[in-house]
Symmetry: C2
Subunit: 407 residues, 2 copies
């Protein structure tokens, strides 16, 4: 093998393998109950609607030719028109020119990192925050600091103390956060906007799980609240990322960014330079499915995932020993578990896979500084209630064993 | 509108709209004969093979579920196995672990830029070179210098003169180069490898048009020649980029990188952080089509494009005034035209669209320093011979008019 170390750019040292992606390999072992991947259940995909959509596109030679040809970087216009209309559901008024189509919201995060982060800039995220966002942003070599929110009392002034340069943006997932499952209420969102306005700080809002609310009243997204304050989204500094990965299917890789038009114009140039455009046929198929069945599809997903969430919360109550705490999400796919401080989530995973045949994601990867070792993330999206109950029982028994050994 | 200028990273100043992508909009005007886009003819797509492939994947619920679910970042294993086998056709022995699947070769160039280029590093490219490569690399803020090759006499030592830091890589498209159509012969490739070895310089080899050779003997790719010298591709410093955009269809966005395994391991992390993975169903469909019909498909493409190339060369001979020169490509999609020095390609385009209803790409965008104003790139891939003859006649007459006006 040749030695490549001298050739890499400095950012290479920031690239580490994702615990989540590596753990996906565990799904292939049938006796493992996996609470690891935050992925939708393929049995719930709208397969017939997808088959019909492909059939409509491919049977027409002209339409098929266009769908399989190069296409424009900003994305398929009818899909951008659909999304501009659909954002009204969330209280956001926008035009197709406020929307860029991306390869899932992961690519949206990469592009926003590319546009805003210079090496050594500071950006603000939750501690914990979405692991994929940390990976996307890390390529542009930022420093991380904590975004104000529940659990901390940082002020705008504190970010400018000691002559520090202003942060470049804040990133958050206000609903059913990955990994905690927690949701910011309206007052918390307004306080976050107050903070951002005080610093003239752009906010990236990740709405990946927006359609998966099981109970509690909907809260307008940051983008809607900011547009109401500013008089339209083009006057805000909020950049909203959405995806069809949770509501339709992930494998088509279709997501989007809603942003002020000058930012979209820059992002279109980034899209051109990065991969020209998102697959045309995938955008057309997503448009066909979204514009016909997304409401009925997500209406059918919600009770299934809700029952799985409820099964997980009940099993945690039934099987976890004293000293273990967890969140109660109103939606999404995740419950965040806080273990007694003596237990390291990564070490627990090793024993969980070997002894209990249960998998999850250790908490440290969700923190920029890799603290949070005594947390684990459990996803309830992939297993049926009985299996969830079985897996949580096995995990609870293992934790009891670990605690007994340490006593 | 809010002012965003203070928020952007420094790299934003490098992002400019692509003449090529903007010009695609001209294709919608039916009376324009466009020689602009370097895009395949959608009438030649293997539509029935694609319809059959989608049908086979989607009619099986388990297979459809897997195709539409999240999948691994390195790419669909059967496709990587197919490509490892297919690279043997070019004299390259490699494993699936030497291959990463990307969203077309544009994303391969972006990822290689991300892995290797730090701000202010120097990279070497042809003057002219592929516009999309300049766009991809520009995001990482390099300096550009010229790669040794026909037309210049740079030595390895010249890149290290005056204490300069060694360049990070050289980028080239050895066959039917976009934009010139020129091909490096075997001796030129060996000299390029000698140069790269003298500097221990990685070379990025762009093989986008590899299957579109119309005449002349095939020459082994740089990767094959380097592997023969070094004793296997893992010991080389050549990174090969391929794509199905020209041989099957562009709209599925499937390309690949062949590289030493340590580089692929890094690129997999970049893929995870950038967009997780290339669409699973697209990879499966490309694999089905490639493994069944790629030889017959490309065999049917070649005579059609060859006839269009021949029509363009004949029309240039018939209609261009004295003082206009052009290349004679052995393959690919492009003829590169050198105009009399007084004619600016961008100004000519304005008149060509307005007066002659003909479009092409001005040359300056293919140069990092935007010299080359008196060149234009003509693509012969999209029009039938009679239309090519008509368009070149119109263009030749315009150039004669311009020269007469200047005389």
């Amino acid at each position: 093998m040749s030695d490549w170390s001298e050739h890499y750019a400095a950012r290479e040292t920031r690239m580490r393998a994702s615990e989540v992606r590596e753990l996906l390999k565990l799904l292939d072992q049938p006796d493992i109950i996996s609470f690891a991947g935050g992925i939708p259940d393929a049995k719930l995909f709208p397969r017939q609607a997808l088959v019909d959509a492909y059939d409509r596109v491919l049977k027409d030679p002209d339409r098929a030719g266009a769908a399989l040809q190069y296409s424009v970087s900003e994305g398929y216009l009818p899909l951008r028109q659909f999304l501009a209309g659909d954002m009204q559901r969330l209280g956001v008024s926008c035009d197709p020119d406020n929307i860029l189509i991306t390869n899932g919201s992961q690519q949206a995060l990469d592009f926003l990192g590319k546009l805003f982060i210079g090496s050594h800039d500071t950006i603000l995220v939750g501690y914990p925050t979405f692991l994929g966002a940390l990976q996307a942003f890390n390529a542009y070599e930022p420093h991380f600091d904590v975004l104000p929110g529940p659990g901390n009392n940082r002020t705008a002034a504190s970010y400018l103390a000691d002559g520090r340069r202003k942060p470049k943006f804040g990133y958050c997932m206000p609903e059913f956060q990955n990994p905690t499952g927690l949701t910011l209420d309206r007052a918390e969102r307004e306080r976050l906007l107050d903070f951002a306005e005080a610093l003239n700080l752009p906010l990236i809002e990740d709405g990946a799980y927006e359609r998966l609310r099981y109970d509690g009243a909907p809260v307008p997204p940051l983008l809607a609240l900011a547009a109401a304050r500013a008089g339209g989204i083009d006057k805000t500094k909020v950049l909203y990322c959405g995806t069809f990965s949770k509501s339709i299917v992930p494998g088509l890789r279709v997501g989007w960014i809603v942003a002020p038009k000058p930012v979209i114009e820059k992002l279109v140039l980034i899209k051109q330079a990065s991969d020209l455009h998102t697959s045309g046929i995938n955008q057309i198929v997503v448009h066909e499915v979204a514009s016909t069945v997304i409401e009925s599809q997500t209406a059918s997903l919600r009770p299934v995932y809700q029952a799985r969430r409820d099964a997980m919360l009940q099993a945690l109550r039934d099987h976890m020993p004293h000293g273990v705490e967890w969140t109660r999400p109103e939606g999404g796919m995740f419950v965040w578990v806080t273990l007694p401080a003596a237990i390291d989530g990564a070490e627990l995973l090793g024993r969980a896979v070997a002894e209990a045949r249960v998998a999850f994601v250790p908490g440290a990867g969700f923190y920029p500084d890799r603290t949070g070792e005594n947390h684990i993330r459990l996803s309830f999206s992939l297993n049926e209630p009985a299996k969830i109950a079985d897996g949580i029982k096995r995990l609870g028994n293992l934790i009891k064993t670990v605690l007994a050994e340490a006593a």
